[in-house]
């Protein structure tokens, strides 16, 4: 699967435009006028939202215009580099998904277990180390973080029910 730059430009502009509209809508809850004591709380957010919508529309128009203009002359021109090609996209997804999974697991079981599982996975699967090495690395990362945050700097990280059960806090 390959995503062209144009598709991505359009998609991004549509998303930012949507965010802009959302901001406009959200700011109406606070009053968007200019009262006797200066601007009301929603005055600036509303303007910000409008400008985002405008900027996004302009980017959209610009993208279409550029590509419409490039088309006829396209025969001799170098084809535009895609936003991302299939191989890269797969690599990217393979990197991002474990992180998302780790975050989800951490929300449940605490950050220490989340990071341990994540390191084990990346060492074993992505980097191709042996199971034992990967396990050792995961435990080392957990231990180092535990000492640095809980003991040295006394910043408690999320423990989750399992650590809590074993009386680690």
């Amino acid at each position: 699967m390959e995503i062209s730059r144009k598709t991505m430009e359009v998609a991004t502009a549509v998303v930012t435009g949507g965010v802009g509209a959302l901001i406009c809508y959200g700011s109406t809850e606070n009053g968007i006028g200019w009262g006797p004591g200066g601007p009301e709380p929603g005055y600036f957010p509303f303007g910000i939202g409008c400008l985002i919508v405008l900027g996004s529309l302009a980017t959209l128009v610009q993208t279409f215009w550029k590509h419409a203009g490039a088309h006829p002359a396209g025969a001799g021109a170098v084809p535009e580099e895609p936003f991302i090609d299939g191989t890269r996209l797969r690599l990217l997804v393979a990197f991002v998904l474990p992180i998302v999974a780790m975050t989800a697991i951490s929300a449940w079981l605490g950050l220490y277990i989340g990071m341990g599982l994540y390191i084990f996975y990346t060492m074993r699967v992505s980097a191709g180390f042996r199971t034992l090495t990967s396990l050792a690395a995961a435990l080392l990362v957990i231990a180092v973080n535990f000492v640095v945050f809980e003991k040295l700097f006394m910043v408690p990280l999320l423990k989750g029910p399992i650590l809590e059960y074993f009386g680690i806090y």
């Binding site: 449940w108 006394m154 029910p161 399992i162 059960y165 806090y169």
Partner: protein, 340 residues
Amino acid sequence: MQITSLRKSVLTASALAVGLTGATAALAEWKPNRPVELVVSAGPGGGSDIFTRVVQAALTKNKLVETPLIVVNKPGGSGSEAFNYAEDNVGSPYKVYFGTQDAYVLPLGTKVNYAMKDLTPVASMVFDVFILWSNPKASGINTAQEFVAKAKENPGKVRVAGAKAKDADETVVTLVERAAGIDLAYIPYKSGSEAAIQVAGGHIEANTNNPSESLEQWKAGNQKPLCVFTSARLTDKTVVADGMSWADIPTCVEAGIDVKDFVQPRTVWMAADVPPEAVAYYTDLMKKAMDTPEFKDYTTRNVQITKFMAGDELKAFLAEQTKNYEKIYADNNWLLPASQ
């Protein structure tokens, strides 16, 4: 398949964890066996933060606790973040919450995700007093009477600075407006010291503030206390500046502004459903903290009124305070539509 089994194990684990806390609660002589979090409803450097750190210092320095105490700042949403955290940690005896009147006032005017039933009151330790200050050089206001007169001449033009919107400072300003029949322009800043500097620099006519936040500017001659919002005068007779001591500042009632007692309690809370032994332990601990030289230094320096309240006395005080605030909030039209 895998997920469901995982979830099941989590459930058993958490059930066991709950059972464990229950077991500790059964012990008569309760004592924390792990680090205790002191959660502050303000950012670093704020009044509540300093208060909490003084308690932390007093307890650790005098070896009144064996486990480490960790101060955690949760200033988000005007401090509601801290009490929201209490709601997330029901029954945890290892978290103590430090605040002001914000704990019971916040739910009145803002949409917050906790209710008073999520908190167990532990103690109220000291009262911070409020003083009305002016900049004598820039504004020409030297007394509370002059302040009122000036405000009457220029309705809505005399500016009063304070910390945050719809918080203690703005509340007391609305009380002054109503009592003296004047109209002021309240300007909120991020903190009390920022507001004080605006007055000291002559950009704003007056501000309301805790004594310590304007003390240095008073000594430097950039600010002058007009009146204090207490029913009786302050007791500290050491001369601060201009031959005046804290005790020489008239009460606002004396000065003709009929606002009797507007003080800020420094309160200590725990989450709901905590073991009563733990509450008793921390109540006792706070009482001990108050007797330390560090804490006494702190209250003298900040010209606070020390009054320890706990148990039923505290509950009665809180109920009365909440009722007062409800009335003020209703008068100011600040109440949340839902709670009206």
